[in-house]
């Protein structure tokens, strides 16, 4: 996954942040609410997201993205995030 999209969901709004925090409890270590803040990832954060991730925009109109990471699925509802991802893909 490219840096643009990886950062895109890490810097998402509150709904996305809650979902990503849920992943953290499943083994992604240091990713937490703080990761939702704007800015570059720290080396520790980069280390924590080293596992392959796949992003699936399931419903663009509803802002629904499914993040597949390790053996888990996290659904994020964030229209701003979806907009960033789709615009990055153009």
């Amino acid at each position: 996954m490219g840096e643009v999209s990886r950062r895109a969901f890490l810097v998402s709004g509150s709904a996305g942040a809650v979902a990503i925090a849920g992943v953290a409890s499943g083994g992604l270590g240091t990713i937490g609410l703080a990761s939702a803040e704007e800015g570059e990832l720290t080396p520790d954060e980069l280390e924590a997201v080293a596992a392959p991730m796949l992003l699936h925009v399931r419903d663009a109109a509803a802002g629904e993205i499914e993040i597949l990471v390790e053996d888990q699925s996290v659904v994020v509802n964030d229209k701003t995030l979806v907009a960033k991802v789709l615009r990055a893909a153009k």
Partner: protein, 454 residues
């Protein structure tokens, strides 16, 4: 075939394709469960011989409370090891042991038991035997394969590797507009100059077997070893499933990245369920869901398409079946809830009101001293549809049932047509089906050197 390539999607994914499932009571108060994958193998498969998918989660599920959901699950995960990536050969000399340095591509696997959501590893780095290339490559194949039977932590044994496919069916005939070779003279489309002798389409083909033998007490709801066949806790439901991670991306360099939860792509309980009962448009869906969702497929069982076709394909042979329009309560019981007490004296394998397709095994019924390959309908309560043994002739049993032989069990007003008891596809040939006296019971694979010449 039983479930070989039985649905459009899974027919394109052989390593995840569940082909057959067997479950039977075995010696020393154990149950043996055999799940076969990677069907229809041509033995001469060099240079890349068959193997399990290292990206597939294989599971054997057991429901012991009748809700159609797993209470005990055995998970199997495989990994590949390549000794020398600089050669194109599977083996660079004879493979005379599981540790032979001549064996260039091997598989190891782990077994995990999941109960009440808690996983327990029962074995790791367990070896699969090699595929049977030929006698030069495998000078002592049976000994090497036997050494791949391993004990499991906490009791039981396991084996995973290539075997001869024990299933038999005249596939080429039955899918040629429902032809049963022994009865083809009565078919609506006559052919002249053809033999009426059945042919086993899977003769000399191999498969990859996952076999596990565990104490009965590891599978029952209360951890007991039931002895009363009529007791509710004596019946378990068994099915197998294969899953892949939800997402995958090709990296353009010959590799693939997968991520996400494992998602079911194949399952199997009763033989032929998805094959001949579920219609084309629902087969992939059926493969993706658990048995607790099977009430959504019950209408296909209640009015099976094949029962309507038989009187058309064989005019005048099945008039009573043709006139029977009620829902098939017999098939709904046999395949989806189990046979309740009072239908077959001294027997039941009823799991309750939840409709679920899986093998129902009454573990209080001991193995038969003299197996009848027609199982329960022939008075052998240790055979299909009480679980399934390797040589149970499930094609004949199910064809006869669909043709109406079992309707009188629930509807005494019905008289089966005279031809029903004589239905067979004619492919059963015990001499061709080599089974072992002990675990893993499935016979050794056919060697690439000898097939198809032998």
């Amino acid at each position: 075939m039983s479930s070989h390539r039985e649905a459009p999607a899974i027919s394109k994914d052989p390593v995840a394709d569940s082909a057959d499932l067997y479950a039977f009571v075995s010696a020393n108060d154990t149950v043996t469960i055999i799940a076969n994958y990677v069907p229809a193998q041509f033995a001469a498969a060099g240079p890349n011989f068959y193997e399990f998918g290292d990206d597939v989660l294989y599971e054997i599920h057991v429901d012991n409370n009748g809700d159609g959901l797993p209470d005990v699950t055995y998970q199997f995960r495989f990994e590949n090891q390549v000794t020398n990536p600089e050669t194109f050969l599977y083996n660079t000399g004879p493979i005379d042991s599981l540790t032979s340095p001549n064996w260039n591509r091997r598989q190891l696997y782990s077994v995990t038991r999941v109960k009440s959501g808690t996983p327990t590893e029962l074995g790791s780095s367990l070896p699969c035997p090699p595929c049977f290339v030929g006698r030069r490559s495998n000078p002592n194949y049976d000994d090497v394969a036997a050494s791949a039977v391993r004990d499991l932590s906490g009791g039981g044994r396991v084996f995973a590797g290539q075997r001869a496919d024990p299933f038999f069916v005249d596939l080429g005939s039955v899918f040629d507009l429902g032809t049963l070779r022994p009865f083809q003279d009565a078919h609506v489309i006559p052919l002249s100059g053809v033999s009426n002798e059945g042919r086993d389409s899977l003769r000399k083909s191999n498969v990859h077997t996952i076999a596990i033998q565990v104490p009965i007490t590891a599978l029952t709801s209360d951890g007991s070893r039931p002895t009363d066949p009529m007791a509710q806790n004596s019946v378990i439901g068994v099915w197998t499933a294969a899953s892949r991670q939800k997402g995958s991306v090709l990296d353009g360099q010959g590799g693939c990245t997968a991520a996400g939860p494992f998602t079911q792509v194949s399952r199997l309980g009763n033989p032929l369920f998805n094959e001949v009962i579920v219609p084309m448009g629902d087969k992939d869906h059926w493969n993706a869901v658990a048995p607790d969702q099977d009430s959504g497929f019950a209408h296909y069982v209640a009015q099976p398409e094949l029962a309507k076709l038989l009187p058309v394909l064989y005019p005048g042979v099945f008039p009573n079946l043709q006139g029977y329009t009620k829902d098939r309560a017999d098939l709904l019981a046999i395949l989806m809830t189990g046979i309740p007490a009072g239908v077959v004296p001294g027997f039941q394998n009823f799991t309750g009101g939840t409709q679920a397709d899986y093998l129902r095994l009454n573990v209080a019924i001991p193995p038969s001293a003299n197996e009848n390959h027609l199982g329960l309908v022939a008075g052998d309560a240790a055979g299909f549809p009480n679980g399934r043994r390797l040589l149970d002739d499930v094609v004949t049993i199910e064809l006869r049932a669909i043709a109406g032989l079992t309707i009188p069990l629930v509807d005494p007003s019905f008289t089966p047509d005279g031809a029903t008891s004589a239905i067979e596809d004619g492919s059963f040939n015990p001499a061709e089906r080599i089974t072992l006296a002990d675990f893993p019971y499935v016979g050794p694979p056919h060697s690439g050197y000898r097939v198809p010449g032998e």
